[in-house]
Symmetry: C2
């Protein structure tokens, strides 16, 4: 009667509703879960909850989930060990019907997941067919950033990557390489360095390049934080951005436009990625034989003040 059943006598319905109101009856979700074997709870795991990118994906997932009548458990697992532990707990206890996995260190995890588990990966490609994923179109995004710099006349373009164990870092790098090649620019391995997404790593890498007198007129950092660090190192060496060196970041993090100079960047709609992930997951949870999808989200170039024409 409560669960919106159709064929009930209007009069009965009224009586029931009256009783509900009178007793203040509220169905118990736990008992319900127990009876139907469905918890209407999803879980979302990320390395941490504070990084804006992750937080924003989580928020998107949470919004979408709640809109469909699900709640979202969130938990952070900074390393592989704790991740595996967490997944085990979650699955074993059958609290969550599905998992949104925001985890860069993917492959080993995926191997670890039992086949029947409903999971959607965000920002990482499960290189198997057994799961859906939502990814940024990192290849194109990397190409877009590189093309922007080439269009401005730059030819010696340094690249600060994220950890190359992560799919997105590898794809962005690939986009960079492909675009250089298409523009007939010789690849130069001296210009490529691996960071860890932190501003400090961007700073360190650029300082080192500068000390080693590596020549470049532009830098493509795979996230805004490393771009900020890079700009810091440049400024410290007396170089002006963008007059001497152009810098493009990635993410369009909050306040990117408030740095000096305002950061040119690639915007990714992480909130939307979260929504998509939750939607896919809910589909998978509600279908007995779910189909697997790979959703690719487009990125957008945001031109601000940290990039400028090559003035060689």
């Amino acid at each position: 009667v409560i669960n919106g059943f159709e064929r009930v006598n209007p009069e009965t319905r009224q009586r029931v509703e009256a009783a509900i109101a009178e007793l203040g009856y509220q169905p118990n979700a736990i008992a319900r879960s127990m009876a139907q074997g469905r918890t209407h709870t999803l879980a979302c795991l990320a390395p941490n909850l504070t990084d804006f990118t992750f937080a924003s994906i989580i928020e998107g997932a949470e919004n979408e989930a709640r809109q469909h009548g699900y709640f979202l458990l969130t938990a952070s697992a900074p390393d592989q060990e704790s991740f595996v532990l967490l997944v085990d707990q979650l699955l074993a206890s059958r609290r969550a019907e599905g998992l949104v996995l925001i985890t860069p260190f993917l492959d080993s995890y995926h191997t670890h997941l039992p086949r029947y588990v409903r999971a959607v990966y965000v920002s990482a490609d499960p290189h198997l067919d057994g799961a859906s994923s939502v990814m940024l179109d990192d290849l194109n995004a990397g190409a877009m950033a590189t093309r922007h710099l080439i269009d401005l006349g730059h030819r010696e373009i340094a690249q600060i990557t994220g950890p190359l164990v992560e799919d997105c870092a590898r794809n962005r790098l690939l986009g960079y390489q492909t675009t250089l090649q298409a523009a007939n620019i010789q690849p130069n391995s001296q210009l490529i360095a691996q960071g860890d997404w932190s501003a400090t790593s961007g700073y360190r890498i650029v300082s080192k390049m500068l000390a080693e007198k590596v020549r470049f007129s532009a830098i493509f950092a795979q996230n805004d934080r490393m771009a900020i660090g890079a700009i810091h190192a440049l400024r410290q060496a007396g170089k002006h951005v963008p007059q001497d060196v152009s810098v493009i970041g990635f993410d369009d993090m909050p306040l990117a436009s408030y740095f000096d100079p305002a950061i040119t960047t690639i915007q990714q709609d992480t909130f939307r990625m979260g929504r998509e992930a939750a939607r896919l997951l809910i589909d998978a949870v509600e279908q007995p034989e779910p189909a697997f999808h790979k959703v690719l989200i487009g990125a957008e170039l945001i031109v601000r003040q940290s990039t400028g024409r090559f003035s060689g």
Copy 2:
């Protein structure tokens, strides 16, 4: 036998353990919850999940919760209406045993919560005795920031507050006022303006003060974002920070030290606040007659480059 019961025959225990291993048995948390009426789940509500302050509190709460064998449901409720709805759902369904409430618009909510609900408020004072809270010592923190500026020789100190409906904004303002008074500085209402925590609001307020030729040599912004906005406005007006005007922020958000100039600020340990909140909540959940505590967390002054000695 599984639940660590003492009086069992060692031999029986062995047999049971063998069976568990063989069958791959994993207890079902839902059934357990149902039987004992305990879900071992807490919920954490915040206006959003992306703001670093909130995210960091949530992460702290999540860590602490999990350490005690609880999971954490998170949800965002940007306005009062959705908040009330959410709380109702959560309580009615009895999914969560307790609530960590990170919510600035507090009073009306609190009134709304039934007495028996276990809740811990973060960053807001439940002005009743029926709940615990974890708050930053905003009064002292506000005083500390103000004193720092006074110590540098400033006497015309502008203040950009957060929304004054929020306890923390009011307390920081009070700390500012008290400190000015103690230093025999005339209060000047022209120097106080209310922002909304956004960089834009800081920008707008300072631009307006500048346009109206309000005199000040220092600004105390109640968060770093508004401080950034303020610096932006100052720079645009051709003023140098800190040579012409000193600016102090609040929060010590990530990258605060990467802005130019690096932001002097008050650091609050939000992660710890989250932990404390979860700990208090778990205590309350596990005690039949919980005591209520108000925990006050100290703040710390981080001096960087955006404040300097008054130079006439």
